[in-house]
Protein backbone atom coordinates (compact mmCIF):
# COMPACT_ATOMS: atom_id res chain seq x y z
CA UNK A 1 0.00 0.00 0.00
CA UNK A 2 2.72 2.42 1.00
CA UNK A 3 4.77 1.39 -2.02
CA UNK A 4 1.69 1.80 -4.24
CA UNK A 5 1.20 5.42 -3.13
CA UNK A 6 4.91 6.05 -3.60
CA UNK A 7 4.78 4.63 -7.15
CA UNK A 8 1.81 6.87 -7.86
CA UNK A 9 3.55 9.98 -6.49
CA UNK A 10 6.74 9.31 -8.43
CA UNK A 11 4.76 8.67 -11.63
CA UNK A 12 2.78 11.91 -11.30
CA UNK A 13 6.02 13.77 -10.54
CA UNK A 14 7.52 12.42 -13.77
CA UNK A 15 4.53 13.91 -15.59
CA UNK A 16 5.33 17.35 -14.17
CA UNK A 17 2.98 17.42 -11.20
CA UNK A 18 3.79 18.36 -7.63
CA UNK A 19 3.10 15.39 -5.35
CA UNK A 20 2.84 14.31 -1.77
CA UNK A 21 2.19 10.78 -0.57
CA UNK A 22 2.04 9.44 2.95
CA UNK A 23 1.04 6.32 4.84
CA UNK A 24 -0.97 6.03 7.98
CA UNK A 25 0.00 3.01 10.01
CA UNK A 26 0.72 2.12 13.55
CA UNK A 27 3.39 -0.50 13.66
CA UNK A 28 5.76 -0.99 10.75
CA UNK A 29 5.14 -4.65 9.99
CA UNK A 30 3.65 -6.66 7.16
CA UNK A 31 -0.02 -7.57 7.39
CA UNK A 32 -1.12 -4.72 9.65
CA UNK A 33 -3.95 -2.59 8.22
CA UNK A 34 -2.56 0.42 6.39
CA UNK A 35 -4.00 3.45 4.69
CA UNK A 36 -1.90 5.51 2.32
CA UNK A 37 -2.70 8.82 0.70
CA UNK A 38 -1.46 10.74 -2.30
CA UNK A 39 -2.00 14.30 -3.44
CA UNK A 40 -1.29 15.41 -7.01
CA UNK A 41 -1.40 19.07 -7.95
CA UNK A 42 -0.10 21.65 -10.43
CA UNK A 43 1.14 23.77 -7.50
CA UNK A 44 3.52 22.93 -4.64
CA UNK A 45 1.62 21.03 -1.96
CA UNK A 46 1.74 22.55 1.51
CA UNK A 47 -1.26 20.90 3.15
CA UNK A 48 0.12 18.22 5.48
CA UNK A 49 -3.18 17.04 6.91
CA UNK A 50 -4.89 13.80 5.95
CA UNK A 51 -7.22 13.48 2.96
CA UNK A 52 -10.88 13.43 3.95
CA UNK A 53 -12.52 13.98 0.56
CA UNK A 54 -10.64 11.89 -2.00
CA UNK A 55 -11.18 11.85 -5.77
CA UNK A 56 -10.19 8.19 -5.93
CA UNK A 57 -10.28 5.30 -3.51
CA UNK A 58 -8.12 2.23 -4.16
CA UNK A 59 -8.85 -0.91 -2.14
CA UNK A 60 -6.09 -3.50 -2.09
CA UNK A 61 -7.85 -6.03 0.13
CA UNK A 62 -11.52 -6.69 -0.69
CA UNK A 63 -12.20 -8.01 2.84
CA UNK A 64 -12.18 -4.32 3.85
CA UNK A 65 -15.46 -3.83 1.95
CA UNK A 66 -17.20 -5.43 4.92
CA UNK A 67 -15.18 -3.89 7.74
CA UNK A 68 -15.09 -0.16 7.00
CA UNK A 69 -16.86 2.48 4.92
CA UNK A 70 -14.48 2.71 1.98
CA UNK A 71 -16.63 5.46 0.44
CA UNK A 72 -16.44 7.86 3.38
CA UNK A 73 -15.90 11.40 2.09
CA UNK A 74 -15.50 10.32 -1.54
CA UNK A 75 -16.36 13.22 -3.85
CA UNK A 76 -19.57 12.87 -5.93
CA UNK A 77 -17.47 12.43 -9.09
CA UNK A 78 -15.28 9.91 -7.30
CA UNK A 79 -13.99 6.62 -8.70
CA UNK A 80 -13.30 3.42 -6.81
CA UNK A 81 -10.78 0.76 -7.81
CA UNK A 82 -11.00 -2.57 -6.02
CA UNK A 83 -8.71 -5.57 -6.09
CA UNK A 84 -11.45 -8.16 -6.46
CA UNK A 85 -11.50 -11.89 -7.32
CA UNK A 86 -12.51 -12.39 -10.97
CA UNK A 87 -16.03 -13.75 -11.43
CA UNK A 88 -17.15 -13.03 -7.88
CA UNK A 89 -20.29 -10.91 -7.49
CA UNK A 90 -19.77 -7.42 -6.05
CA UNK A 91 -21.50 -6.68 -2.74
CA UNK A 92 -24.14 -3.94 -2.59
CA UNK A 93 -22.50 -0.56 -3.06
CA UNK A 94 -24.15 2.83 -3.74
CA UNK A 95 -24.88 3.32 -7.47
CA UNK A 96 -23.73 6.96 -7.49
CA UNK A 97 -20.03 6.12 -7.90
CA UNK A 98 -18.05 4.47 -10.68
CA UNK A 99 -16.45 1.16 -9.72
CA UNK A 100 -13.55 -0.58 -11.42
CA UNK A 101 -12.37 -4.08 -10.68
CA UNK A 102 -9.11 -5.89 -11.21
CA UNK A 103 -8.03 -9.26 -9.90
CA UNK A 104 -4.60 -7.98 -8.92
CA UNK A 105 -4.03 -10.89 -6.53
CA UNK A 106 -4.21 -13.48 -9.33
CA UNK A 107 -2.12 -11.33 -11.67
CA UNK A 108 0.59 -10.82 -9.04
CA UNK A 109 0.59 -14.55 -8.25
CA UNK A 110 0.84 -15.44 -11.95
CA UNK A 111 3.89 -13.22 -12.29
CA UNK A 112 5.49 -14.71 -9.17
CA UNK A 113 5.40 -11.51 -7.12
CA UNK A 114 5.40 -12.35 -3.43
CA UNK A 115 4.41 -15.90 -2.51
CA UNK A 116 1.56 -17.91 -4.03
CA UNK A 117 -0.40 -17.66 -0.78
CA UNK A 118 0.40 -13.98 -0.20
CA UNK A 119 1.04 -12.27 -3.54
CA UNK A 120 2.14 -8.63 -3.39
CA UNK A 121 -0.39 -6.61 -5.35
CA UNK A 122 0.89 -3.06 -4.99
CA UNK A 123 2.47 -2.82 -8.44
CA UNK A 124 -0.34 -4.55 -10.35
CA UNK A 125 -2.92 -2.28 -8.71
CA UNK A 126 -1.03 0.82 -9.85
CA UNK A 127 -1.16 -0.43 -13.44
CA UNK A 128 -4.92 -0.66 -13.02
CA UNK A 129 -5.01 2.79 -11.45
CA UNK A 130 -3.25 4.28 -14.47
CA UNK A 131 -6.22 3.04 -16.52
CA UNK A 132 -8.88 4.82 -14.44
CA UNK A 133 -6.99 7.97 -13.38
CA UNK A 134 -7.25 11.03 -15.65
CA UNK A 135 -3.91 12.45 -14.48
CA UNK A 136 -1.51 9.51 -14.54
CA UNK A 137 -0.45 7.50 -17.59
CA UNK A 138 0.82 3.90 -17.68
CA UNK A 139 4.38 4.56 -18.89
CA UNK A 140 5.50 6.75 -15.94
CA UNK A 141 3.86 4.26 -13.56
CA UNK A 142 5.97 1.47 -15.09
CA UNK A 143 9.10 3.61 -14.84
CA UNK A 144 8.40 4.30 -11.17
CA UNK A 145 7.83 0.59 -10.52
CA UNK A 146 11.27 -0.13 -12.00
CA UNK A 147 12.76 2.40 -9.56
CA UNK A 148 10.87 1.27 -6.49
CA UNK A 149 10.74 -2.54 -6.88
CA UNK A 150 13.56 -4.06 -4.82
CA UNK A 151 13.56 -7.29 -6.88
CA UNK A 152 11.78 -8.75 -9.95
CA UNK A 153 11.49 -5.39 -11.68
CA UNK A 154 10.30 -6.78 -15.01
CA UNK A 155 7.79 -9.16 -13.41
CA UNK A 156 6.31 -6.22 -11.52
CA UNK A 157 6.18 -4.16 -14.71
CA UNK A 158 4.52 -7.02 -16.60
CA UNK A 159 1.94 -7.42 -13.82
CA UNK A 160 1.14 -3.70 -13.94
CA UNK A 161 0.76 -3.83 -17.73
CA UNK A 162 -1.55 -6.82 -17.55
CA UNK A 163 -3.62 -5.16 -14.82
CA UNK A 164 -3.88 -2.03 -16.96
CA UNK A 165 -5.28 -4.09 -19.85
CA UNK A 166 -7.71 -6.13 -17.77
CA UNK A 167 -9.31 -3.46 -15.56
CA UNK A 168 -13.05 -3.33 -16.13
CA UNK A 169 -15.87 -1.12 -14.96
CA UNK A 170 -18.48 -2.87 -12.83
CA UNK A 171 -22.02 -2.04 -11.78
CA UNK A 172 -22.98 -3.25 -8.34
Amino acid sequence: MVVASEVLAKAAFKMGFEVSSFPFFGVERRGAPVTAYARIDEHPIRNKSSIYEPDYVVVLDSSLLRGIDILEGLKPSGKVLINYPAGKKLPDLPQRYKYFLIDATSIAAAHGIGSQTAPIVNTAIMGAFAKICDKVALEPVLESIREVAPVKEEENVAAAKEAYERTTEATP
Binding site: F13, V19, S20, E28, R46, K48, S49, S50
Partner: protein, 395 residues
Amino acid sequence: MREVMTGNYASAYGAKLARAEVIAAYPITPQTSIVEKLADFVTTGELKAQFIPVESEHSAMAACIAAETAGARTYTATSSHGLTLMHEVLIWASGARLPIVMTNVSRAMAPPWSVWVDHMDSIAQRDTGWLQFFCQSNQEVLDTIIMAYKVCESSGIMLPAMVIMDAFIQSHTSEPVDLPDQELVDSFLPPYSPDLKIEVGKPMGFGSLVKPDQYMEFRYKAMLGMKAARDRVLRVEREFKSIFGREHGGLLERYECDDADVVLVAAGSVAATAKDVVDSMRAKGHRVGLARIRSFRPFPHDEIRALAGKVEGMAVLDRSYTFGAAGAMFTEARASAYSVQKRPVMKNYIAGLGGRDITPRILERIFEDIQVVSRRGAEDEVEWVDVAGLQRRWR
Protein backbone atom coordinates in the same frame (compact mmCIF):
# COMPACT_ATOMS: atom_id res chain seq x y z
CA MET B 1 18.13 17.36 -9.33
CA ARG B 2 14.62 17.02 -7.91
CA GLU B 3 13.56 13.62 -6.65
CA VAL B 4 10.55 12.37 -4.74
CA MET B 5 11.65 11.18 -1.31
CA THR B 6 10.58 10.90 2.31
CA GLY B 7 11.75 13.22 5.06
CA ASN B 8 13.82 10.36 6.42
CA TYR B 9 15.66 9.93 3.12
CA ALA B 10 16.08 13.70 2.85
CA SER B 11 17.69 13.53 6.27
CA ALA B 12 20.04 10.73 5.25
CA TYR B 13 20.99 12.60 2.06
CA GLY B 14 21.62 15.72 4.17
CA ALA B 15 24.11 13.84 6.35
CA LYS B 16 25.72 12.28 3.26
CA LEU B 17 26.06 15.60 1.41
CA ALA B 18 27.54 17.15 4.58
CA ARG B 19 30.08 14.31 4.49
CA ALA B 20 29.47 13.08 8.03
CA GLU B 21 32.53 11.03 9.00
CA VAL B 22 31.11 9.08 11.92
CA ILE B 23 27.50 7.95 12.19
CA ALA B 24 26.33 6.20 15.35
CA ALA B 25 22.65 5.45 15.62
CA TYR B 26 20.06 3.13 17.10
CA PRO B 27 16.84 2.48 15.17
CA ILE B 28 13.45 3.59 16.49
CA THR B 29 10.10 4.12 14.76
CA PRO B 30 9.69 6.38 12.81
CA GLN B 31 13.36 7.26 12.38
CA THR B 32 14.53 3.77 11.26
CA SER B 33 14.79 4.42 7.52
CA ILE B 34 17.25 7.27 8.12
CA VAL B 35 19.66 4.82 9.72
CA GLU B 36 18.97 2.13 7.10
CA LYS B 37 19.65 4.54 4.24
CA LEU B 38 22.89 5.78 5.81
CA ALA B 39 24.00 2.19 6.45
CA ASP B 40 23.35 1.57 2.71
CA PHE B 41 25.41 4.61 1.73
CA VAL B 42 28.32 3.41 3.87
CA THR B 43 28.06 -0.20 2.65
CA THR B 44 28.05 0.78 -1.02
CA GLY B 45 30.89 3.22 -0.47
CA GLU B 46 28.81 6.21 -1.58
CA LEU B 47 29.60 7.74 1.81
CA LYS B 48 33.04 7.32 3.32
CA ALA B 49 32.14 7.18 6.98
CA GLN B 50 32.49 4.99 10.02
CA PHE B 51 29.06 3.53 10.79
CA ILE B 52 28.75 2.42 14.41
CA PRO B 53 25.72 0.30 15.26
CA VAL B 54 25.19 0.80 18.99
CA GLU B 55 23.03 -0.80 21.66
CA SER B 56 21.08 2.29 22.71
CA GLU B 57 20.54 5.96 21.97
CA HIS B 58 22.58 6.90 25.01
CA SER B 59 25.49 5.00 23.47
CA ALA B 60 24.82 6.58 20.07
CA MET B 61 25.29 10.03 21.51
CA ALA B 62 28.26 8.90 23.61
CA ALA B 63 29.92 7.56 20.44
CA CYS B 64 29.24 10.83 18.61
CA ILE B 65 30.72 12.77 21.54
CA ALA B 66 33.89 10.66 21.45
CA ALA B 67 34.30 10.91 17.68
CA GLU B 68 33.57 14.62 17.61
CA THR B 69 36.11 15.17 20.41
CA ALA B 70 38.64 13.49 18.14
CA GLY B 71 37.81 15.98 15.40
CA ALA B 72 35.35 13.99 13.25
CA ARG B 73 32.10 15.38 11.86
CA THR B 74 29.36 13.24 13.36
CA TYR B 75 25.68 12.60 12.74
CA THR B 76 22.95 10.66 14.46
CA ALA B 77 19.18 10.46 14.34
CA THR B 78 16.57 9.48 16.88
CA SER B 79 13.02 9.99 18.05
CA SER B 80 10.88 10.23 21.15
CA HIS B 81 12.01 7.75 23.82
CA GLY B 82 15.38 7.52 22.12
CA LEU B 83 15.88 11.26 22.43
CA THR B 84 14.83 11.37 26.05
CA LEU B 85 17.13 8.46 26.87
CA MET B 86 19.95 10.65 25.50
CA HIS B 87 19.14 13.53 27.83
CA GLU B 88 22.21 13.23 30.04
CA VAL B 89 24.66 13.02 27.17
CA LEU B 90 22.93 15.79 25.21
CA ILE B 91 23.98 18.16 27.95
CA TRP B 92 27.48 16.70 27.80
CA ALA B 93 27.67 17.36 24.06
CA SER B 94 26.79 21.03 24.43
CA GLY B 95 28.90 21.51 27.56
CA ALA B 96 31.88 19.99 25.76
CA ARG B 97 31.13 22.40 22.87
CA LEU B 98 30.81 19.66 20.26
CA PRO B 99 28.94 20.68 17.09
CA ILE B 100 27.17 17.35 16.57
CA VAL B 101 24.16 17.44 14.24
CA MET B 102 21.24 15.13 14.93
CA THR B 103 17.85 14.63 13.36
CA ASN B 104 14.99 14.14 15.77
CA VAL B 105 11.81 12.74 14.27
CA SER B 106 9.49 14.32 16.80
CA ARG B 107 7.10 11.76 18.23
CA ALA B 108 4.80 11.63 21.24
CA MET B 109 5.96 10.08 24.52
CA ALA B 110 4.34 7.08 26.23
CA PRO B 111 2.24 6.14 28.04
CA PRO B 112 -0.09 5.67 26.31
CA TRP B 113 2.07 4.41 23.45
CA SER B 114 1.99 6.50 20.32
CA VAL B 115 4.30 6.50 17.33
CA TRP B 116 2.78 9.69 15.91
CA VAL B 117 3.85 13.29 16.01
CA ASP B 118 3.93 15.74 18.80
CA HIS B 119 6.75 17.89 20.11
CA MET B 120 6.99 16.80 23.74
CA ASP B 121 10.25 14.90 23.14
CA SER B 122 11.95 17.90 21.50
CA ILE B 123 10.58 20.49 23.90
CA ALA B 124 11.72 18.39 26.86
CA GLN B 125 15.30 18.91 25.59
CA ARG B 126 15.11 22.66 25.26
CA ASP B 127 17.43 23.33 28.20
CA THR B 128 20.20 21.00 27.03
CA GLY B 129 22.10 23.71 25.19
CA TRP B 130 21.35 22.39 21.70
CA LEU B 131 20.19 24.53 18.81
CA GLN B 132 16.74 23.33 17.77
CA PHE B 133 15.40 23.80 14.25
CA PHE B 134 11.82 22.80 13.46
CA CYS B 135 11.30 22.03 9.76
CA GLN B 136 8.15 22.13 7.63
CA SER B 137 9.22 20.36 4.44
CA ASN B 138 11.59 17.57 3.43
CA GLN B 139 13.64 20.08 1.47
CA GLU B 140 14.07 22.14 4.60
CA VAL B 141 15.21 19.06 6.53
CA LEU B 142 17.98 18.37 4.00
CA ASP B 143 19.04 22.00 3.69
CA THR B 144 18.97 22.59 7.44
CA ILE B 145 21.24 19.64 8.19
CA ILE B 146 23.84 21.08 5.82
CA MET B 147 23.41 24.58 7.21
CA ALA B 148 23.46 23.35 10.82
CA TYR B 149 27.01 22.02 10.45
CA LYS B 150 28.12 25.36 9.06
CA VAL B 151 26.37 27.29 11.84
CA CYS B 152 27.60 25.09 14.67
CA GLU B 153 31.19 24.38 13.62
CA SER B 154 32.04 28.09 13.72
CA SER B 155 34.58 28.78 16.48
CA GLY B 156 32.27 31.36 18.04
CA ILE B 157 29.42 28.86 18.35
CA MET B 158 30.65 25.26 18.87
CA LEU B 159 27.31 23.90 20.02
CA PRO B 160 25.30 20.90 18.77
CA ALA B 161 22.10 21.17 16.73
CA MET B 162 18.91 19.18 16.52
CA VAL B 163 17.06 19.23 13.20
CA ILE B 164 13.46 18.36 13.99
CA MET B 165 10.78 16.97 11.72
CA ASP B 166 7.34 15.60 12.45
CA ALA B 167 6.80 11.85 12.81
CA PHE B 168 5.18 10.33 9.71
CA ILE B 169 3.80 13.68 8.49
CA GLN B 170 7.36 14.38 7.33
CA SER B 171 9.43 11.29 8.06
CA HIS B 172 7.23 9.05 5.87
CA THR B 173 5.78 11.59 3.46
CA SER B 174 7.23 11.52 -0.04
CA GLU B 175 7.54 14.87 -1.78
CA PRO B 176 9.88 16.46 -4.31
CA VAL B 177 13.28 17.38 -2.88
CA ASP B 178 16.12 19.06 -4.73
CA LEU B 179 19.35 17.15 -4.15
CA PRO B 180 22.16 19.68 -4.48
CA ASP B 181 25.40 18.76 -6.22
CA GLN B 182 28.12 17.47 -3.91
CA GLU B 183 30.61 19.99 -5.32
CA LEU B 184 28.31 22.88 -4.42
CA VAL B 185 27.82 21.54 -0.89
CA ASP B 186 31.58 21.11 -0.56
CA SER B 187 32.11 24.73 -1.62
CA PHE B 188 29.60 25.83 1.03
CA LEU B 189 30.66 23.53 3.86
CA PRO B 190 34.41 23.04 4.36
CA PRO B 191 35.75 19.98 6.24
CA TYR B 192 35.42 20.10 10.03
CA SER B 193 38.57 21.36 11.64
CA PRO B 194 38.16 22.24 15.33
CA ASP B 195 40.73 24.33 17.21
CA LEU B 196 40.98 21.69 19.94
CA LYS B 197 40.72 17.92 19.67
CA ILE B 198 42.09 14.76 21.26
CA GLU B 199 45.36 13.95 19.56
CA VAL B 200 47.98 11.32 20.20
CA GLY B 201 51.13 12.93 21.59
CA LYS B 202 49.31 16.11 22.59
CA PRO B 203 47.92 15.53 26.08
CA MET B 204 45.01 17.70 27.20
CA GLY B 205 42.19 17.43 29.72
CA PHE B 206 38.64 17.01 28.42
CA GLY B 207 35.62 17.12 30.71
CA SER B 208 37.69 17.64 33.82
CA LEU B 209 36.43 18.65 37.25
CA VAL B 210 36.37 22.38 37.77
CA LYS B 211 35.89 24.14 41.06
CA PRO B 212 33.18 26.74 41.72
CA ASP B 213 35.59 29.51 40.80
CA GLN B 214 35.68 28.29 37.19
CA TYR B 215 32.42 26.48 36.41
CA MET B 216 30.27 29.52 35.78
CA GLU B 217 32.58 30.86 33.10
CA PHE B 218 32.02 27.69 31.04
CA ARG B 219 28.27 28.20 31.14
CA TYR B 220 28.67 31.90 30.40
CA LYS B 221 30.71 31.12 27.30
CA ALA B 222 28.13 28.58 26.11
CA MET B 223 25.50 31.29 26.55
CA LEU B 224 27.59 33.61 24.38
CA GLY B 225 27.83 30.87 21.76
CA MET B 226 24.07 30.39 21.68
CA LYS B 227 23.57 34.14 21.53
CA ALA B 228 25.98 34.47 18.63
CA ALA B 229 24.11 31.66 16.87
CA ARG B 230 21.17 34.02 16.24
CA ASP B 231 23.19 36.11 13.84
CA ARG B 232 25.15 33.15 12.53
CA VAL B 233 21.96 31.31 11.48
CA LEU B 234 20.89 34.31 9.42
CA ARG B 235 24.30 34.84 7.82
CA VAL B 236 24.72 31.16 6.96
CA GLU B 237 21.27 31.08 5.40
CA ARG B 238 22.07 34.15 3.28
CA GLU B 239 25.18 32.41 2.00
CA PHE B 240 23.20 29.20 1.42
CA LYS B 241 20.68 31.15 -0.63
CA SER B 242 23.38 32.76 -2.75
CA ILE B 243 24.68 29.31 -3.69
CA PHE B 244 21.56 27.13 -3.76
CA GLY B 245 18.84 29.71 -4.44
CA ARG B 246 16.68 28.65 -1.50
CA GLU B 247 15.94 30.02 1.94
CA HIS B 248 13.67 28.89 4.73
CA GLY B 249 12.95 31.94 6.85
CA GLY B 250 15.78 32.47 9.33
CA LEU B 251 14.79 32.13 12.98
CA LEU B 252 11.16 33.13 12.46
CA GLU B 253 9.61 32.75 9.04
CA ARG B 254 6.93 35.37 8.44
CA TYR B 255 4.20 34.67 5.91
CA GLU B 256 1.73 37.45 5.07
CA CYS B 257 2.50 39.18 8.37
CA ASP B 258 3.17 42.72 7.11
CA ASP B 259 -0.39 44.04 7.28
CA ALA B 260 -1.89 41.29 9.45
CA ASP B 261 -4.31 42.08 12.27
CA VAL B 262 -3.83 38.65 13.82
CA VAL B 263 -1.11 36.05 13.37
CA LEU B 264 -0.68 32.39 14.16
CA VAL B 265 2.65 31.36 15.65
CA ALA B 266 3.47 27.69 15.10
CA ALA B 267 6.33 25.28 14.41
CA GLY B 268 6.74 22.16 12.30
CA SER B 269 4.65 20.73 9.49
CA VAL B 270 1.41 22.39 10.65
CA ALA B 271 2.91 25.72 9.61
CA ALA B 272 2.93 24.54 5.99
CA THR B 273 -0.76 23.67 6.17
CA ALA B 274 -1.41 27.03 7.85
CA LYS B 275 -0.03 28.88 4.80
CA ASP B 276 -2.85 27.40 2.71
CA VAL B 277 -5.31 28.57 5.37
CA VAL B 278 -3.81 32.07 5.41
CA ASP B 279 -4.24 32.26 1.62
CA SER B 280 -7.85 31.07 1.72
CA MET B 281 -8.77 33.44 4.56
CA ARG B 282 -7.08 36.38 2.87
CA ALA B 283 -9.09 35.61 -0.27
CA LYS B 284 -12.15 36.17 1.92
CA GLY B 285 -10.79 39.51 3.17
CA HIS B 286 -9.29 38.49 6.54
CA ARG B 287 -5.94 40.06 7.32
CA VAL B 288 -4.23 37.05 8.88
CA GLY B 289 -0.63 35.87 8.84
CA LEU B 290 1.62 33.07 9.95
CA ALA B 291 4.86 33.31 11.92
CA ARG B 292 6.73 30.01 11.91
CA ILE B 293 9.20 29.37 14.70
CA ARG B 294 11.98 27.77 12.71
CA SER B 295 14.61 28.11 15.41
CA PHE B 296 13.28 27.34 18.88
CA ARG B 297 16.82 27.47 20.27
CA PRO B 298 18.01 30.15 19.94
CA PHE B 299 14.52 31.57 20.37
CA PRO B 300 13.57 34.41 18.00
CA HIS B 301 12.90 36.94 20.77
CA ASP B 302 13.56 40.05 18.70
CA GLU B 303 11.47 38.84 15.79
CA ILE B 304 8.50 37.91 18.00
CA ARG B 305 8.77 41.22 19.84
CA ALA B 306 8.75 43.18 16.57
CA LEU B 307 5.74 41.23 15.35
CA ALA B 308 3.89 41.63 18.66
CA GLY B 309 4.18 45.39 18.32
CA LYS B 310 2.30 45.33 15.01
CA VAL B 311 -0.63 42.94 15.53
CA GLU B 312 -3.78 42.92 17.67
CA GLY B 313 -3.95 39.20 18.28
CA MET B 314 -1.36 36.45 18.43
CA ALA B 315 -2.44 32.81 18.50
CA VAL B 316 0.33 30.45 19.56
CA LEU B 317 -0.13 26.81 18.64
CA ASP B 318 1.79 24.26 20.68
CA ARG B 319 2.03 20.61 19.71
CA SER B 320 3.02 19.78 23.29
CA TYR B 321 2.13 20.94 26.78
CA THR B 322 4.34 21.87 29.69
CA PHE B 323 2.44 20.62 32.70
CA GLY B 324 1.83 23.23 35.34
CA ALA B 325 2.42 26.05 32.88
CA ALA B 326 1.25 26.19 29.25
CA GLY B 327 2.69 25.35 25.84
CA ALA B 328 6.40 26.18 25.68
CA MET B 329 6.16 28.15 22.43
CA PHE B 330 3.45 30.25 24.06
CA THR B 331 5.22 31.03 27.33
CA GLU B 332 8.35 32.03 25.43
CA ALA B 333 6.51 34.08 22.81
CA ARG B 334 4.59 35.88 25.55
CA ALA B 335 7.80 36.60 27.44
CA SER B 336 9.24 38.07 24.23
CA ALA B 337 6.18 40.27 23.77
CA TYR B 338 6.20 41.55 27.35
CA SER B 339 8.37 44.60 26.67
CA VAL B 340 6.15 45.79 23.82
CA GLN B 341 4.23 48.96 24.72
CA LYS B 342 0.95 47.99 23.07
CA ARG B 343 0.87 44.24 23.53
CA PRO B 344 -1.45 42.07 21.45
CA VAL B 345 -3.96 39.69 23.01
CA MET B 346 -2.18 36.34 23.15
CA LYS B 347 -3.77 32.94 23.41
CA ASN B 348 -2.33 29.46 23.47
CA TYR B 349 -3.88 26.59 21.51
CA ILE B 350 -2.78 23.07 22.44
CA ALA B 351 -3.40 20.84 19.43
CA GLY B 352 -2.33 17.78 17.53
CA LEU B 353 -0.87 15.74 20.40
CA GLY B 354 -0.07 12.10 19.66
CA GLY B 355 -0.58 12.63 15.93
CA ARG B 356 -4.12 14.01 16.05
CA ASP B 357 -4.60 15.67 12.71
CA ILE B 358 -4.58 19.47 12.68
CA THR B 359 -6.80 20.10 9.68
CA PRO B 360 -7.13 23.32 7.68
CA ARG B 361 -10.62 23.60 9.19
CA ILE B 362 -9.22 23.58 12.74
CA LEU B 363 -6.60 26.17 11.80
CA GLU B 364 -9.29 28.37 10.28
CA ARG B 365 -11.24 28.19 13.55
CA ILE B 366 -8.14 29.12 15.52
CA PHE B 367 -7.77 32.19 13.29
CA GLU B 368 -11.45 33.04 13.79
CA ASP B 369 -11.12 32.60 17.54
CA ILE B 370 -8.07 34.87 17.81
CA GLN B 371 -9.88 37.47 15.67
CA VAL B 372 -12.70 37.49 18.24
CA VAL B 373 -10.53 37.45 21.36
CA SER B 374 -8.21 40.12 19.97
CA ARG B 375 -11.23 42.46 20.20
CA ARG B 376 -12.85 41.11 23.36
CA GLY B 377 -9.92 39.65 25.30
CA ALA B 378 -9.39 35.95 25.95
CA GLU B 379 -11.46 34.13 28.57
CA ASP B 380 -8.94 31.30 28.79
CA GLU B 381 -5.35 31.94 27.94
CA VAL B 382 -4.77 28.28 27.15
CA GLU B 383 -7.29 26.20 25.22
CA TRP B 384 -7.03 22.52 24.30
CA VAL B 385 -8.26 22.09 20.75
CA ASP B 386 -10.36 19.21 19.48
CA VAL B 387 -10.52 17.19 22.69
CA ALA B 388 -13.44 14.83 23.26
CA GLY B 389 -15.93 16.22 25.77
CA LEU B 390 -14.69 19.82 25.48
CA GLN B 391 -15.83 22.54 23.07
CA ARG B 392 -17.75 21.04 20.18
CA ARG B 393 -16.83 23.90 17.87
CA TRP B 394 -13.52 22.35 16.86
CA ARG B 395 -15.08 19.20 15.43
